[in-house]
Amino acid sequence: MYRKKAITTLAAAATVGMLLASCANQAAPQATGGGATTGAGSNIPVLTSIETPKDAVLPAGDGKATCPSTTTIAYVGAETGANAQLGINIYNGIQLAINQHNKSNANCQVQFKKFDTEGDPNKATGPVTQVTKESNIIGVVGLPFSGESKATGNIFQQVGLVHITPAATNPTLTDNGWSTFFRGLGNDAVQGPAAAKFMVDKLGAKKVYVVQDDSDYGIGLGTTTSQALGSNMVGLDKVTTGQKDFSATISKIMNAKADAVFYSGYYAEGAPFDQQLVGKGYTGPFVGPDGLKDDQFIKQAGDASANAFFTCPCIPGELIPSFATAYTALTNAQPGTYSIEGYDATTVLLAGIDKGNQDRAKLLNWVKTYDADGLSKHYKWNDKGELQAPAVYGYKVQNGKIVPIGQIGQ
């Protein structure tokens, strides 16, 4: 018994001693690390207003539309799951457009239905099949993510049901020969080069380290970004979805003396990665795409997020006063990433319904030949379903908030 007590005391004393040693001087400055400082980026001014098209088509229309009361538009995408917030941003935008339309058009009350995929390609086929079987649903906004869009595009194609994705950016989605798939924003073939140009020209990075995850989205965007960076890329690492420990990747980044890191993936991994990177003394900027641009990133990365920049083919809806006010009145929240894209995509469908395109075939044809301004940008698709004039915006973190810094990549 005596011996046991002695060991206990020894262990306790040693543990406390360790804590003491490790916490000593904790207020002193950080270890040395990567090259550049965030100084280059913090000078970039915040964008406070954007121009909206003068003759933008709005959901309210002319107020004279008539349609059967069964006419339905559906949202298919994440309502729950790890990346649910993006889905919530989108369907609130859709809900707002439909509310405005129905308020103005007494004789055309369009119904709105939501179907949950959890953002998971494996779970998306069920809800999509259900949607195609409900004949009242003549148009769909979704699916938000690239993986699930890839898994379900064929199902929409088979029944000729038009769907506009407000968020999926993998470039290859439009290479499947689907005639029912339309993308309501720029793809990663646009976003990647824009991000590369932003890092090199605006942040002054010469040695960018690219890290991509194993999703369709992360691989696609990682590839287009690496290609656009060319000799400005100093290394590439690949991580997995669900990974929490990035120490080996960080060691490679520090040894490569990278002056910027580009993470191609979602915030669930990007946030702990940035946090660990900064914890190891990295002082350069951390740049990520739309999959990282969410308040959850800041919440999960903590203070480390101060070095983060985001690129996004999404328009800052919060800078469009009429939209932002109405959105906040509906949801008690600021418009989020892709809220305005969801709103605009719905507007395209509603405008078609108002013009008498009230079955699947007619509405599909309407979208195919659509050529008008939405609140955020001009909507006209090429024969593959890509927008002809997409825009990419840059964002940064300021005082714990994501703020737009203007269009990038031009």
């Binding site: 916490c23 000593a24 904790q26 270890a31 702990p272 203070d303």
Partner: protein, 336 residues
């Protein structure tokens, strides 16, 4: 057939497996220190698997949830004490007090979870002499039950990140900095494991644990209270998981999530098997090895997607040569 197979081949040379030896040389020391840090956390959790397996021959799959409850304990304590996303501006002494408090709460939370698990899920089955398969299914069921109860209460997102203290460089080895966080985790974990090892081999309760592991019936006949020993074993596993939880949240502040223990649990279980399940020292060896192999492997092969492939290939190879694990399964024998 052949054309189909051909399309499965990588499209260009860069997709083939290549060995990046210079990168391994360059990153060797940091991979070692990081591997040891994570390995220590694996080892602490692995002890929970090993101890329970030793006395009950049960793989307690719900141990990953025992661990995650400890993480929530750490989170709520530090949150309550005012820790936030930035490193706290506190004196050294109060940081130590706060962390010790979080450690105690985490240990209590994990130990309590383990205790309840034993009482509510496993003991009723033991009373009825249920077959071993039923225990296993119950363990998996208990794991999901706890996971989704947390999900319903706390939602799908991880808790907000808390910074306990900012790691500081302590010394460097061939130019690679060892920071205070790594040093604290490894040394504290090793001390705890030495303590557990001594406890099992010298204390009265430890003798009871070994006796039950060796032969439960004879142990009972010799006056060992088997039920009490089993509960104690679960609680010890819980306490260690609570300690692991503090170190894990220290390292990965955004890891406090309803399913956050799952992957770590699988790795810790693998560590226990690698070292020899049922063997206390084996858990330490297995944990540290798994952390190191995964780190070396991913750097040698060029990217992090290889981490688990390498770790588990090594696990299988070791088990082919030594089916009982590196140190053998010997909690019952006096070697433990």
């Amino acid at each position: 057939m052949i054309p189909t197979l051909l399309t499965l081949l990588p499209a260009d040379d860069s997709s083939w497996i290549t060995f990046d030896v210079p990168s391994l040389m360059q990153n060797f020391w940091s991979a070692t220190f990081d591997g040891l840090t994570f390995g220590s956390i694996y080892a602490l959790v692995a002890l929970g698997y090993t101890l329970v397996y030793g006395v009950l021959n049960l793989i307690n799959f719900a141990h990953s949830e025992v661990f995650i409850m400890g993480c929530y304990g750490v989170f709520f304590t530090l949150n309550f004490l005012g820790f936030g996303p930035s490193a706290p501006n506190l004196s050294l002494g109060s940081i130590i007090v706060n962390l010790l408090l979080a450690l105690i709460v985490a240990m209590v939370a994990s130990a309590l979870t383990a205790f309840l698990l034993e009482r509510l899920a496993y003991r009723p089955l033991r009373r009825r002499n249920a077959p071993r398969l039923v225990f296993l299914i119950t363990a998996i069921g208990a794991s999901f039950t706890i996971q989704y109860t947390i999900f319903l209460v706390r939602g799908p997102n991880p808790e907000a990140a808390l910074t306990m203290f900012r790691p500081r460089p302590i010394f460097d080895v061939f130019g690679t900095i060892v920071d205070s966080q790594q040093l604290l985790i490894v040394i504290a974990a090793v001390i705890m494991m030495i303590f557990v090892d001594r406890f099992i081999s010298t204390s009265r309760t430890g003798r009871g644990i070994r006796a039950v592991a060796q032969d439960p019936d004879t142990a009972t006949l010799m006056g060992v209270n088997k039920e009490r020993i089993i509960v104690t074993t679960f609680v010890i596993g819980g306490i260690l998981a609570g300690a692991a939880a503090l170190f894990y949240v220290m390292k990965i502040p955004s890891g406090v999530q309803y399913n956050g223990g799952f992957i770590l649990g699988i790795k810790a279980f693998a560590a226990a098997v690698l070292g020899g399940i049922g063997n206390v020292r084996g858990a330490l060896v297995g944990g540290l090895l798994l952390g190191l192999i995964g780190n070396y492997g991913q750097i040698l092969l060029g990217n992090s997607q290889w981490t688990d492939v390498v770790a588990f290939v090594v696990l299988v190879l070791v088990l082919l040569l030594r089916p009982e694990g590196i140190l053998g399964t010997s909690l019952g024998r006096s070697r433990a």
